[in-house]
């Protein structure tokens, strides 16, 4: 019954039709909020008493690392759906999401390194948070490379899904690394359960930047997944009718 339900709502055809309608809203919302959040954070938020203006990197760094983890978690759910219920759309979504995840993880690492120069006096430190995020970046590259190395795409989908599931163990390690080990990296500044250690004048633009980047990345994911679906399903009748 669950399998029938999942397959009914996860056909590439219905996905393409639905996302075609959603894309214009998501891209406008994403770019508008990201622009608002970044302008607010860069020009209107007050200077930090300890870090000066270098802290303004937070409005790109924190959203980037949040989505670096969330995209991998999303890929792990898709991998599970592909392996358990053989949902082919789930494999297509992993393939489309992996390069976006790699890009945003790189951006998180790069922005953190640049932030480290004026703040810590070094651009790199082999501490738990940074090393586990680097492993996440390597996992994304591994997923992309593994899928690209097979000519049998069905086999590639399955092996890619297994690798994604194995790699998901790294996500709680990244999340908890600042609590479990002594590290240069500061603990989380914002918390869903409350108790954020950041002033509202900095918190609001940060939250807007997070939501804005989220919708922007979903829009990018929609475009990438549609192009991959068109490639994989190009001989199907519905594609010929759709294009």
């Amino acid at each position: 019954m669950i399998s029938a339900f999942i397959h009914k709502f996860s056909s590439p055809k219905s996905y393409v039709r639905l996302t075609e309608k959603l894309y214009p809203f998501f891209i406008v919302l994403g770019v508008s909020l990201l622009t608002l959040g970044w302008i607010w954070g860069l020009l209107f938020a007050p200077q930090d008493a300890v870090q000066g203006n270098s802290y303004r990197i937070i409005f790109l760094h924190v959203p980037s690392v949040i989505f670096a983890e969330l995209i991998y978690f999303f890929m792990a759910i898709c991998a599970l759906m592909h392996l358990v219920w053989r949902v082919k759309l789930a494999a297509y979504l992993i393939k489309a999401a992996a390069p976006i995840g790699a890009m945003i993880t790189f951006l998180g690492l790069f922005s953190g390194s640049i932030w480290g120069i004026p703040t810590w006096g070094t651009w790199w430190q082999w501490d738990a948070r940074i090393t586990s995020t680097l492993i996440l970046f390597i996992m994304y590259l591994g997923v992309i490379t593994l899928h690209g190395s097979f000519s049998n795409l069905i086999k590639a989908d399955r092996l890619m899904s297994i690798l994604v599931i194995i790699g998901v163990i790294n996500i709680p390690i990244i999340k908890k690394s600042v609590d479990w080990w002594s590290t240069l990296h500061q603990p989380a500044s914002i918390s869903i359960s409350g108790g954020s250690s950041i002033d509202p004048s900095m918190l609001y633009p940060l939250l807007i930047s997070i939501i804005g980047l989220g919708f922007t990345l979903i829009s990018l994911g929609i475009l990438s997944s549609r192009s991959y679906i068109f490639t994989r399903e190009k001989n199907k009748k519905w594609i010929a009718e759709h294009v």
Binding site: W38, L42, L43, F44, A45, P46, Q47, G52, N53, S54, R56, I57, L60, H61, S64, P99, I100, M103, F106, L107, F110, S111, I114, W115, I117, P118, P200, S201, Y204, T216, S219, L220, L223, S224, R226, S227, F230, T231, K234, I239, A240, V243
Partner: protein, 58 residues
């Protein structure tokens, strides 16, 4: 909360010596996002063109 944190363009660019770090991060971030969208759009246009040619020839 909505007062400009800087008094002129030079201060905005310099950010008390931190401008080079801050602006380089945002320049790379915006460039990567824009390039990713551009690549994805070109791929869609390319595959749609191929499918249309295949449809016309079959």
């Amino acid at each position: 909360m909505f007062d400009l944190a800087f008094s002129n363009l030079h201060e905005i660019l310099d950010m008390n010596g931190h401008g080079i770090y801050v602006w380089s991060v945002y320049a790379l971030g915006i460039s990567m996002i824009v390039i990713s969208f551009s690549i994805a759009k070109k791929r869609i246009a390319g595959i749609q063109k191929k499918i249309k040619i295949n449809n016309a020839s079959s």
